[in-house]
Every structure is written in C-alpha cells, then in structure tokens.
Symmetry: C2
C-alpha cells in the first residue's frame, strides 16, 4: 500500500511542470486569454538593453497578437505550447525549444490545449521599444493546429 | 524490498539536476577548469545581436576569468554555483537566480564544490564582441567562499 502511494506521487510530480522562477503576476485580460503568469527577471536598462522574463501559461492560455520593435527570442523550459507568426502555420513548441520572432512581425504564443507551457522571453535592443499589443487570438485561430 | 528500491531511485532523481537542453560540448581546458559542457542555443546575428546558450558545470568546474564587451546576463536554472566579479567577494548563485556582469568587467562563474550548476547565458549587443578569455581561476580563489 505504501508502495502504491509512492508510485502515485511520482506520477503526479511528473505531470507538474518544473518551476524555476516564482509564478508571478496574472497577465491582464487586455493582453492574454486564459491564465498566464509573468515574472520579470531582467528589466530593460541602458547598459544591457535587454528585457528577460518567464511566462507560465496554463493549458489553453495564450497571448494576444503582438510585435516587438527589435524582435523576440523564446526559450521553452517545460511543457508544450503553440507559436504562430502571422501568415504562417502554428508551430508546436516544447521543452528545450527556441523560437525567434523578427522585428515588427506580429506573433502570438501560449500553451497547448492539454498541457501548460513554461517559457523565458528575451527582448533584445530595448532602446527600440519592447512590445506593441494587438487583438486577442480567437478560438478559431487557436484551434487551427495541424 | 521493491519499496526500498523505489525510494533509492527517487533519491537519485532528486540529486540529478534538471536537463532542459542537450548536455553539449565539453569546454576546452584553455577556458575551463574541470568538466563544463556548453550548448549554443542562439547564435549571434545582425538582427537580434544576442547570443544565448546553456552551460552545465559539474561540481568543482568553473570558467576562466573573462569579460564581455557588452556585458552578460546569467539565468540559473538548477543547482548551486559561484559567481565572482573581480575585486568583489564570491556570490553564491542558485536555481532561479539572475546575475548581471557589466561590460568589460572581469568575472568567472561555475558550480559549487559539492553541487553542479545549470545556467543560461545571454550576451547582448554582440556587435560589440562576445567574450575575451583570460587566465584560469586558481584553487585558492575558487575555495575562498565565505
């Protein structure tokens, strides 16, 4: 019986995504659909001109469409999610994956429907600006995963 | 008996650091002491002007002294290590921690003596250069942890 309980605990742990950073602040409904949590790690300044943070997306959660004046790099640290550059198909992103979005190109990112996503973002050359937020990603767009 | 074996497995897993990225290439003895493994994640280019990678340091392993023309940001994803900016005491760095080293300032980083370190590095503004390598960190300096 003790054995079975142990086994159950292991399974539960494996299904939980690794947390490296604090969960952070819930993203506003003006810029996110569903539950997404942002932790700022490095604030932009004039020395490093780089902003870094972690976002945890619960299953189904995603950002609005948005763009970055100098582009963005995503580093996926756990889970499974989606990333779409406007005009291209949704790409599935997973633990260990890297995504680049070029400057001034609209994109969105978030968790898959079934599994959450932990991702770091890097915004380089912040002297050009950080982010321009646009409209929400509709369910129709979100569900159009091939 | 089966229970005990399970328990042992759990303990072993907990002591192993989380691996998000492939282990990578062993760092050269010209620039590292001990066993350190580097995986490049983002190569510097003219669009993002940012280099990103992961280094896994085995216990006792550390970089040589070095500097970055535009500075460096470290993101600690697991384990325990040391970071020292020249002229300052060694700081202990841990999972979830962030380190910044200003431009053209000499520093070194690596694992603690007992526990390994997983860390991401971000080198911003790579148009100014990436890294300038200097001499190895002696055992005397490495062991001078308060």
């Amino acid at each position: 019986m003790a054995c079975n309980q142990n086994k159950q605990n292991i399974t539960t742990d494996k299904r939980k995504l690794t947390e490296i950073f604090p969960k952070g602040e819930k993203g506003l409904s003006e810029t996110f659909t569903g539950n997404a949590y942002n932790t700022g790690l490095v604030d932009a300044d004039s020395t490093f001109t780089t902003a870094v943070g972690n976002v945890y997306f619960e299953p189904g959660a995603r950002s609005n469409w948005h763009s970055h004046p100098a582009g963005q790099i995503l580093i996926i640290t756990d889970g499974v999610g989606y990333h779409q550059i406007e005009g291209k198909p949704i790409e599935i992103i997973k633990k260990g994956g890297i995504v680049k979005c070029p400057p001034n190109v609209r994109h969105w990112h978030g968790a898959s429907a079934e599994v959450g996503l932990q991702q770091l973002y890097i915004v380089p050359n912040t002297e050009k600006g950080i982010v321009k937020w646009d409209e929400a990603v509709t369910d129709e767009i979100y569900q159009n995963v091939k």
